[in-house]
Amino acid sequence: MSELKSGSNLEKVLKAGHFAFTGECGPPKGANVEHLKEKIEPLKGMVDAVNVTDNQTAVVRMSSWAASTIMCQEGVEPNFQMVCRDRNRLAIQADILGVYAMGIRNMLCLSGDHQRFGNHPESKNVYDIDSMQLIALVKKMRDEGKFLNGEEIDVPPRLFIGAAANPFSDPFEFRVYRLAKKIDAGADFIQTQCIYNMDRFKEFIKQAVDMGLYEKCYILAGVTPMKSVGMALYMAKQVPGMDVPESLIKRLRGAGKGKAGEEGIRFALEQIEEFKEMEGVAGVHLMAIEWEHKVPEIAERAGVLPRPTV
C-alpha cells in the first residue's frame, strides 16, 4: 500500500494508520434535497466518509450517485455504494466514470438484496456481473485504465475500492475465504455486516489475521446500535444472515421501558472500545439506520473525535 490509489480522505486516514470511523446515510424516498441535507448535517466532521446506499433493501430511492454528489457539495466525503441488481455492465461502467467525474473517490461494491424484499418485487433482476466481478472491474478500470472489454479509458476513474463481508452468514467456514477472494479481486477496504455476536466475529477476524488478510486490506467492523427491543427482534428473525444473540435482546429488555435505545448505544460503545484494540480491525463502520442525528453523540462518547485531518 505505497502510493495513494484514489486520494480519498478515507484512504488517507487508513493509510496514515488512524482508526477509521465511517458513517452511513440512506437517500430520501423522493427528490427531497433538503431532507437529504438534514441527514448529512449531523455527520459533518464526525466520520471519515459516509456510505450512500443504493436502493437499499431493493426500495427505490434517490440514486446513490446523485445523493453522493450532493454530499460532496455539502463537504462530506461519500462512499458511493453500487449494487449489481439494477444495472448491467454498460450502466455500471458508465456510472463509475460519472461518479468519478463528479468528484467521488470511494466506492463500495455489492451484490444487493434481492428485489423480492423491496417495493418493486415484480422487477427484472439484472445480475449481469456479481459483486466479486464488480470489484475486479473497478480495479481494472483504475489500474489498467481499461474497460471490461479491454478498450482504453480516456482518463481512468481512480477510486478507493470497498467491499462487504458478512461473517455471520453461512457456510461460516467459507466466509474468510470469500473475504480473501474479494481482497484478491481488488478490494482496498472491507466493511462488515452489523456485528452483534462478538465471539463469532472474533473467530472470523482471527482467521483473517492468520491468513494475513488484514495486511492487504483495511477491515472496518460494522456497528449498528439497536434502537429498541423491537428492532433487535426484527433483525434476529427477519434479516437473513444477521446474528443477534439472545443475551443482547435480554440486555435491551432489562434496560426497562424507554431505555433500550440508550442500552443499545452503550453496547455499541463497548463494541467500539473492543474493536480499537482488536488485531486486524482498522476501524468502525457505524450504520446508525435512520438515526443519523445520534452520530455526533456516539462519536463523542466513543472517543473517536476529532477526526484526523490528513
Binding site: 451484490s111 456479481d130 466481478q133 453461512d170 477472494k181
Partner: protein
C-alpha cells in the same frame, strides 16, 4: 424437461370468450411427464370447459387431440384436416407448442393453456424444481455439477452472498441456497481450491441476452 403449470380456469375462460368450437391439443412430451398437458389433462380440461360452458349457458363444443409432440412440424401437421372446424386451438404444450401451431395454421387462433415455467425435473412425486436456465454455455463443472445461474437467486458466479443462512436463500426459507450446496460439496470432496478461483464476468451472448437463438446441425440439414 420443460415444466409448466396449467393456467387458472378463469384466465382460460376469458381467453375463450366468444368462442364456440374449441380444439384442445395436448402434447405427449415434457408436459405429459409433468402432468400438465398430456392426454389425461386434456380430457380433464375439456370436461371442465364443457361444464363451465353449460353453467354459463354457452354453446361451447370442445374436442380433444394429443399429439406426439408439438415442437415438430411432422406432428403438428397431423391436425391439418380438422383445424378449419374450430374457432380456437387451445394448446396444452409448453410455450413452443402454441407457437408452432400458430405458424403452421395462420388462419386459426392458437392460445396457450399453460404457463411454461422452467427446465427442471421431479424431485419427488408432484414436485418439480428448476435446474437450468439455458444459458448456452454450460459451466457447471466449475461448481461441482450444480448450476448457480439457474439456481442462485442472483446468478452469482462467486457466491455465496451474505444472505445465505442455514442452507437457505435470502429470498425465502423455502428456497435452498445453491451456493451453500456448492461450497459444502467442494469441502467434502476436498476441492475448495476450485471455488477460490475468481470466476470472471460471464459472456451472456449465448444466452437469451444475445437475441433469439438458432441451433444448426449441418449434417442433418437437407
Amino acid at each position: 424437461m420443460i415444466v409448466a403449470d396449467r393456467k387458472p380456469l378463469k384466465e382460460i375462460l376469458e381467453m375463450l370468450d366468444g368462442c364456440n368450437r374449441v380444439l384442445i391439443v395436448g402434447c405427449k412430451g415434457c408436459v405429459s411427464v409433468c402432468n400438465v398437458g398430456g392426454s389425461k389433462e386434456v380430457g380433464i380440461l375439456a370436461s371442465i370447459l364443457k361444464i363451465a360452458g353449460k353453467k354459463n349457458g354457452l354453446d361451447i363444443e370442445v374436442d380433444e387431440k394429443t399429439l406426439e409432440r408439438q415442437c415438430d412440424p411432422e406432428y403438428v401437421d397431423q391436425i391439418k384436416d380438422v383445424v378449419a372446424d374450430y374457432d380456437v386451438i387451445l394448446s396444452m404444450a409448453c410455450g413452443v407448442g402454441p407457437q408452432f401451431l400458430s405458424e403452421r395454421y395462420p388462419e386459426n387462433r392458437c392460445l396457450p393453456a399453460v404457463n411454461t415455467t422452467f427446465f427442471g425435473g421431479a424431485v419427488q412425486h408432484g414436485i418439480w424444481e428448476e435446474r437450468c436456465a439455458g444459458c448456452g454455455t454450460c459451466g457447471i463443472h466449475h461448481f461441482g455439477g450444480l448450476c448457480p445461474i439457474a439456481r442462485c437467486s442472483k446468478s452469482l458466479l462467486n457466491g455465496p452472498c451474505g444472505g445465505s443462512a442455514d442452507g437457505k436463500c435470502e429470498i425465502s426459507k423455502d428456497v435452498d441456497c445453491i451456493w451453500d450446496m456448492i461450497v459444502k460439496k467442494a469441502m467434502e470432496q476436498g476441492r475448495l481450491d476450485d471455488l477460490l478461483k475468481f470466476k470472471p464476468a460471464k459472456n451472456w451472448s449465448t444466452a437469451r441476452d444475445g437475441g433469439p437463438r438458432t441451433s444448426v446441425r449441418e449434417e442433418l440439414v437437407q
